[in-house]
Amino acid sequence: MMDREHMISCITEWVPGAKAEEGTEWTTLSIPGESWPELAQRLRDEADWQMDFLFCLTCIDWKTHLTMVYHLTSTRHRHILVIKADLPADDAVIHTASHLWKTAIFHEREVFEMFGVRFSKHPDLRLLILPDGWEGRNPMKKDFEDPVNMIRM
């Protein structure tokens, strides 16, 4: 189990551009998208981190940009870390996490179709939930309006 300060100092040392967020329940750090693959590798493999369980992977659409959110924990040390990476809205690309945590295969496919984030080196980046041949906007983005909305009707 690591305390918050130690985690933050460690990561800011590894990733120069990392910024810690204040007032969050769990240690939250914002990193540049390019440094994600190296950081992920270290987080999983370093002996005192061992973040082997990616329990949540999602994306937030802030209209101006997208934010990838990774919730990581360790089944051995039980510490929790939240990593965020901002991506540009028009050309969102980030390195996949699926080679480290296989659960990311499905979660990244979901984010891919729902938010349009492309994951480089993903083994199988296809549509998962949307019907085959879906052409149109990414449904979970804020500017997507469902043509049939029961509640608004």
Binding site: E25, F53, F55, I60, V69, H71, K102, I105, L128, M140
Partner: protein, 371 residues
Amino acid sequence: MHEVLGTTTDGDLVINVGPQHPATHGVLHLVITLHGETIRKVDPHLGYIHRSIEKMCESLTYRQFIYVTSRMDYLSAHINNHACALCVEKGLQVEVPARAQYIRVLMDELTRIASHELWWGAMAMDLGAFTPFFHAFRERENINDIMEETCGARLTMNYMVPGGVMADIHPNFQKRVKSFIQLFRSKFDEYNEMVTGNIIFQNRMKGVGYLSAEDAISYGCTGPTARGSGVSCDVRKIMPYELYNQVQFDEILETGGDSFARYMVRLREMNESINIIEQVIDNIPEGDYQAKTKAVLKLPKGEFYTRVETARGELGVYIVSEGGTTPYRIKFRSPGFSNLSALDHMARGSKIGDLVAMMGTLDLVIPDIDR
């Protein structure tokens, strides 16, 4: 797009299991590649019951969005609602009265038993034994009656509200729960007689769908699926919420990693839930069942995440608030979604009959996967 029909070049057979298929319990669509009877590949195609609950919740207030989550994992509706209520309470920093906490835990555990009962019957039916299904429903019916009496509905109760529960428990509640415990205890041996001990069943389950502990963690499996592989992941133990740090219970772990281990975890969990209920049922404190909250709830700007153990595994509710009355973004990390992603890994090289057994022990609820 995908090769859905026909055969592959090396003579393998491509079969669509689902979206309408007796073993998928809903509208799961698996495109499986077969070599004779042996499975080469399983490719799940999801989305047949995708209602985009996450998007829907963005236009609902913090009081309203809870009811929708009953429709995700409809078998543990209470626990889903509970997770959402906890998340909102975390944002509001509301202290839930003790009585409400006791009621919530009781309802959660009853829901867990009901869910496992249904799973047990449905899984036996997947393996071709029809009779256990009805026997499981006999006990489940009692839980449903208890729920109906207190919450007013049998499946999608919407009983949890931010700050507590919607109504006090029914005067008969404790009496009926106790009589249910007695009934359950007296009928539990039948489960072992009819299914667990059966030689055909054991041969169908043992050594089938092996999932190592490393793979279970890597695929993000939680709940009984991971605990069958020996991964300690019960949120009630590692991040206790409500009463769970006050009650005595064991985290059920099996080390087999095969379908039989997952089966045994669920079966033993039913007994463990009964133990929790027995500890709690007589000690419900007097007091309010609901904390005082404002009529219009506004969460402060920020992010809130709660982890809750449902019958299928860890449910995460991630609310991103901009300070308004509705969530800006909400994410449900559903257990079934991650558990399903391990199916391909587990199923390769086994027979079609094994695939059905694996799907049975993963306890897939399709609306939970699709959301």
